[in-house]
């Protein structure tokens, strides 16, 4: 029989924990809330510092935003490229991660090292050679050019490899005895068990593409191929004093990732409680 005093102290501890975590969450949400509030403040000005009270809220900034850049087209471009790159990264990444985790081959540490090395050079010096290369291939200023650097990512491969390394090998062996080949073990045994990592990668891959700025800036000339960060930088140039319009643009750019995150979060959490092993 549990002592009542212990129950009370446990409930109290939980309450305190919740209060601390909730306070932290409020601090986390603050800049975003402030972005939203500035976007609905008439002629948003920042001189008074952030305020959480709006006098005369208005959607003027959003009207101005939609009037000054083709938001619809821009969002469709960004969304299409981000979805394509996310799907490609999930497939290419989970296959490579399976190879690094489950297949024995010579020079594996070296090959894996080469993969990781692709993360170690700043993009700032890669854009010029990449641009020249794609121009020679007559592929600059196309959707493919936007997508090219994000078809595969060593970040995602590393993330998934760590997850697959955590899946007990006994499960593969059981499947192999049942006559499954590598493709089936990859797709039907291992993949379902690393869903949390796949969901996390979905968020990061989407975000990476959605927010990428420098490369689209270099490779895109046609206004109809413009992506969101390019549109937003145009706004910042045009509306240096009208922060409400700039912040309205930020809100439009943040919300889709939050939605993607909310979808993915369920899978990040409802992962593999049971592997079927004891």
């Amino acid at each position: 029989m549990p002592e009542p005093s212990r129950d009370i102290s446990r409930a109290l501890g939980r309450g305190l924990l919740w209060a601390a975590v909730a306070l932290g969450a409020a601090l986390m949400l603050f800049p975003f809330l402030w972005t939203v509030i500035t976007s609905i403040t008439p002629q948003g000005n920042l001189s008074g510092g952030p305020s959480l009270i709006v006098q005369d809220p208005t959607l003027d900034a959003y009207r101005e935003l939609f009037a000054s850049i083709p938001v619809g087209r821009i969002v469709v471009n960004s969304f299409g490229v981000a979805v394509a790159s996310t799907l490609l990264q999930l497939v290419t990444g989970s296959m490579a991660a399976y190879a690094f985790s489950r297949l024995a081959f010579r020079g594996k540490p070296f090959v894996f090292g080469c993969y990781l090395a692709t993360l170690m050079i700043p993009l700032q010096v890669l854009v010029a050679p990449l641009f020249i290369m794609l121009t020679r291939m007559h592929l600059n200023d196309t959707y493919f050019a936007l997508l090219a650097p994000n078809i595969a990512s060593a970040f995602g491969i590393f993330l998934l490899k760590q997850a697959i390394d955590g899946v007990p090998k006994e499960l593969d062996e059981a499947a192999r005895i049942d006559g499954a080949g590598h493709l089936r073990i990859w797709g039907q045994v291992v993949m379902p068990l690393v869903k949390p990592a796949m969901a996390a990668l979905t968020v990061f891959a989407f975000m990476e593409s959605w927010n990428s700025f420098l490369w689209p800036l270099v490779v895109i000339r046609s206004p109809e191929l413009m992506t969101l960060p390019l549109g937003l930088s145009y706004l910042q140039g045009q509306f240096t004093t009208e922060w409400n319009v700039v912040m309205a643009g930020s809100v439009v750019s943040i919300l889709p990732i939050v939605v993607v995150y909310l979808f993915a979060q369920k899978h990040i959490i409802a992962g593999m409680a049971h592997t079927g092993l004891k």
């Binding site: 190879a99 990592a197 927010n211």
Partner: protein
Amino acid sequence: MSDAIVIGAARKARRRKMAAKNLGWVLVFLAPSAIPLLMFKIAPMLASAWVSLHEWNMISPMEWVGLGNYANLLTSENTWEVFGHTLLYILGYLPLVYAGGLLIAVALNQKLKARGFLRAAYFVPVVTSWVAVALVWQWLLNPSNGLVNHLLGLVGLPQPGWWTDPFWAIPSVILASAWKDLGFVMVILLAGLQAIPQEVQEAATVDGANPWRSFWHITFPLLSPSTFFVVVISLINGFQVFDQVYVMTGGGPSGASQVAVGRIYDLAFRYGEAGSASALSWILFAIILAVTAVQMYGQKKWVNYA
């Protein structure tokens, strides 16, 4: 004794046969990622290595200077300064973001009220643009009327000049970065925590281990593959810190917070010295590669895989 040798040799031969059979599968599984990475990452990287041996303003033809760019950079005091700042940033940022992310991940792995909402709240800064985040932090850390200094004043602590003070500029960037990336670490560690079979944690509780001990002796070691990932990736990214410095301090005051990639950016896009920019990138690459290699070899000592 000799039996063992025979068995060992047989095992080796079998492994070699397996490896040969595997090679086809290795190609099948690696090609979809290897081909795009070779074309769109490795090829431009090699091109930038070539550029680093030239003087090039990205408009007129390249001029061969051999290792001249490297010699200039390695003998310039400025290079050591920006690497020093970068290192300082990492030393502050990594412990802070990891400890914070772990704390939040463990707390939000408990059955708390509205935890779905709370998890999302901690992730929002990860997706908020640096421009908005920097504005808020510049306001919070404003030396004269910022909230942080106001609070420090109330409890009688000294009020630093934060991003306007050469000494406090990097700590300001560290605070804002750790705050923004907390949600990233949280998501990775939450995914890692989910992968730990509940039976293992329950077994410890039934055995009467107190929560603190069962965390350090069971959960934390089982989380080590995720921890390893966070540390390796955070170091790779930390050495390339740029956006937040650019928007918060612009490298100032008077270069006090200029970091390696900030310098690379200035060299390439301000002074039109693509050769030097590439050379500095390759020096940075060598450092990151060495740091990562040490971790890859060291992982056997502390990372537990199933």
